[in-house]
Symmetry: C2
Subunit: 514 residues, 2 copies
């Protein structure tokens, strides 16, 4: 018998959860104290809950298993919601431990009191308020299992302070997560028939289908049938580069996506859904499926999507191999750094097995082409569109994979959301190289202002999209948070600083003035 906090942490560790991204408060103090009694749990302090939840997202995408977060009551959870939204859209397994007031204290409506469940429900995951010491171990084990079901999800366990501190609790054994269901052979056969028909067809890949195995199977199908392949616009984790079959991502702009999907008669979705526009635009359709095209679902996220693709490939492409991208990298550019050429520096110098946390937004439009033949790497995209993901996800990825170089490609506007993630990088000495794409603007909104047809030439409107008054000195900010930083204004400087940052241990930031 022990107290609730120790039972909870012990159960987490026994269930394979060994990292907790934490921003605790008074109601979590017994949890914090219990960390010293469970050696296998690592507490990683974050200065803001949005960093903690984003880090848990990044960790889960790379580790393939959940990290925990430790959040302080409703307001602490609220600060973490935006990155939980991204985790939800990425189907990342995450286990939130949300401290609450003691059960008997709730009724007093003390200043920090709020209803926590409407917020946890908002993440569309698994939610439970543990009811007592006898239940906390079981609830914890079930939370971890729920997070790891197929698809992965955000599991939130609410822990009242008195249940945390009261004795009489016991740790519980791990609960096996529900595995993905086996592919449906009849569906596979029907879709094979569609592909054999030879009509213009596209495979749209998402979720676990965007790893090496899924992409290879899809490419074999494409090689055998002439079908096109595309990856969803914002994949949770996309493996790409030399040795991996190259598959374009569906464009963010409806105009791009329309061109990519033009003429197809069958759209086969695998681990994703039929594509829609990110936003509505006056007079334009939201549905990106071409008129008349038929949508087929090979496998949803509750299914083993890689197995489904492999079985389909074995039917259609026996003996046909996937066509990996050759190792071809751009020449190192020279001269003034621009929004066009910075990507070639990254493409030329990207190290083996890099993880790219990509929140470069508009600045990253040319990145995929520049890195198509770079050494094999994983890209973690902005799945839910809630900006402020990039730096926290890089933190979590680096904790999950300390042997891999993590590169955060970070737009300036969104960097300001969760900038204190830099401090956690410094504190944990994480090998993260942040390339801060600094164009002094919410550039995407300048584009969108025109695209939505707003009459947006006015000075007040443009001022609200302008980040140059004052210019942010991200190198100074990074140094202030303990991360060594430099400024690059030429390609040569970016190349030299990028190579130095990769070679030296610990975090670095390069303020790339594009």
């Amino acid at each position: 018998m022990t107290n609730g906090a120790r039972a909870l942490i012990t159960t987490l560790v026994d269930s394979g959860v060994q990292v907790c991204f934490a921003n605790p408060g008074t109601s979590e103090m017994h949890f914090v104290a219990a960390l010293d009694e469970v050696p296998d749990m690592r507490g990683v302090l974050c200065l803001f809950e949005g960093v903690a939840t984003g880090a848990a997202d990044g960790y889960g995408r790379i580790a393939g298993k959940p990290a925990a977060t430790l959040l302080h009551l409703g307001p602490g959870l609220s600060n973490g919601l935006a990155n939980l939204h991204n985790a939800r859209r990425a189907h990342t397994p995450v286990v939130n431990v949300i401290g609450d007031h003691a059960t008997y204290h709730k009724k007093y409506d003390a200043p920090l009191e709020s209803d926590i469940e409407p917020l946890t429900d908002w993440t569309h995951g698994w939610v439970r308020r543990t009811g007592g010491g006898a239940e906390v171990g079981r609830d914890t084990a079930e939370a971890v299992a729920a997070a790891q079901a197929s698809p992965g999800r955000v599991a939130s366990l609410i822990l009242p302070a008195d249940i945390s501190w009261d004795d009489g609790a016991e740790a519980a054994a791990a609960v096996e997560p529900v595995p993905p269901s086996a592919p449906d052979a009849q569906v596979i056969e029907e879709i094979a028939e569609v592909l054999r028909g030879g009509a213009p067809t596209c495979l749209l890949l998402g979720g676990p289908a965007t790893g090496l195995a899924g992409l290879s199977a899809a490419d074999r199908i494409a090689a055998a049938t002439g079908a096109r392949t595309l990856v969803e616009t914002f994949p949770a984790r996309l493996t790409r580069g030399a040795g991996v079959p190259p598959v374009e991502r569906l464009g963010y702009l409806a105009e791009q996506a329309g061109a990519q999907l033009a003429g197809i008669e069958h759209l086969i979705v695998v681990g994703t859904r039929a594509p829609v526009t990110f936003f509505a635009y006056p007079g334009k359709p939201s549905d990106l499926v071409p008129d008349g095209a038929v949508v087929h679902t090979l496998a949803g996220l509750e299914t083993d999507v890689v197995a489904a693709l492999e079985q389909l490939a074995d039917l259609l492409a026996p003996g046909i191999a996937a066509r990996p991208a050759p190792p071809v990298v751009p020449e190192l550019p020279t001269g003034e750094l621009t929004a066009q050429n910075w990507v070639d520096v990254i493409g030329a110098l990207l190290p083996e097995r890099a993880i790219l946390s990509d929140e470069s937004n508009t600045s990253g439009v040319l990145l995929p082409a520049a890195t198509a033949g770079s050494p094999c790497h994983d890209v973690l995209a902005l799945t839910g569109g809630a900006i402020g993901q990039g730096l926290p996800v890089a933190v979590g990825a680096a904790v999950a994979a300390p042997d891999r170089p993590v590169i955060a490609l970070q737009a300036d506007g969104s960097a300001a959301y969760t900038i204190s993630a830099l401090w956690t990088m410094a504190r944990e000495n994480l090998d993260v190289t942040t390339v801060l794409l600094n164009n002094n603007a919410y550039a995407i909104l300048r584009l969108e202002l025109a695209r939505v047809g707003a009459d947006g030439g006015g000075p007040k409107a443009n001022d609200l999209l302008d980040l140059s008054r004052p210019e942010m000195d991200f190198a100074a900010i990074a140094e202030g948070f303990g991360v060594p930083a430099t400024v690059a204004t030429t390609c040569e400087e970016l190349a030299e600083q990028f190579q130095h940052a990769l070679a030296a241990p610990g975090p670095h930031l390069i303020d790339a003035r594009i």
Copy 2:
């Protein structure tokens, strides 16, 4: 006839709302474009929604009328929730305009799609999703009126993108907010009888009762009857200093509060509720009302609490004057800056009519005594306990009162939450002096770890409360966001830098190493 965005902004302005703290996205582009057509609306860009909502809170506390916020869909709102929680607890009038996807786009569950209403409901305010151009003007006017009812509240208006961009809308005339109800003469007479009885009695003041008029009336009652007076622990806006009757705040720690309330037989609450502890502690009561004491409510927040106090004073203390604090300030201390002596520098140098945004937390324990006789000032406290309020509230207060010096007393741990507020101070050239109380720790949690009885001597536990690894260089961070900054390690340096910052226009930050 105009589009929804223009109708909305015009109605805001016609209803007295002339400032909008904004962090827009694509779905808000027509609102942004419309700003140029309504000259009396000022858009203030914030780099994070928590800055926008905190600024609206600070604005409302000082201006006595709402500012608007402009937030991007559910995730944007979620980032602003913590400071809306503080605004809710402060009863500050705030009008959120929350952009949403076009009505016809919702069903596609695009990446940024989420249920907005569970989040707006969480603020316990007024919520409406406008249904079309014919309604947007009326809905806006009613939102402003709802925000300004008694007590003030957070009003949230959800604006779908197509309603924003479609023509066919019209602005509406302002709606009168429901005024506070008149005090109940019978209640006043009953409470007068209690006070005449001479038993130990305390008046606990909150809400509008903590301004000069309310404090003066309460002090007259105290002078006539011997009753004690106290202000709630975290007042939204407390007027104090020379010329104002001095009233202690109820202590944050239960031990303090218990001593302040010891022996009372009657507790009369005015514009607040019976006090409870901030958190639960093992084996200690949550209710701070002494056993056997009777709680009387003179006036709740729906009532004109100042009128109630004045009527009670006229009954009990005719001809008796309030006893204002004399203008006595501390001597300027010298030598090394410490957690004890920095408050005397502030007390000695506080200018006339200052506004103190106080999130100094543990570092500010001695502040009230040090500033008790400083020139009259307003203190804006951390009403809801959701940290990260201090800098944003200072932004809003400075926008509301450009002729008054605003001083942000800011603890280090909570500063990191919404640090980009500094950028908005620089952008708007706001006259805010931030004194950053830098003790490299979540000092309050060190205290709380012991107070909750957690066995907290372990290295991992203490590490999670330690902000010294690495130390944050807040001067560098501030300069990075465009705010001139200095470091003070002695009382003399703090005094000199504080005087310089007050004398020079625009924002300044002093990293006070205590």
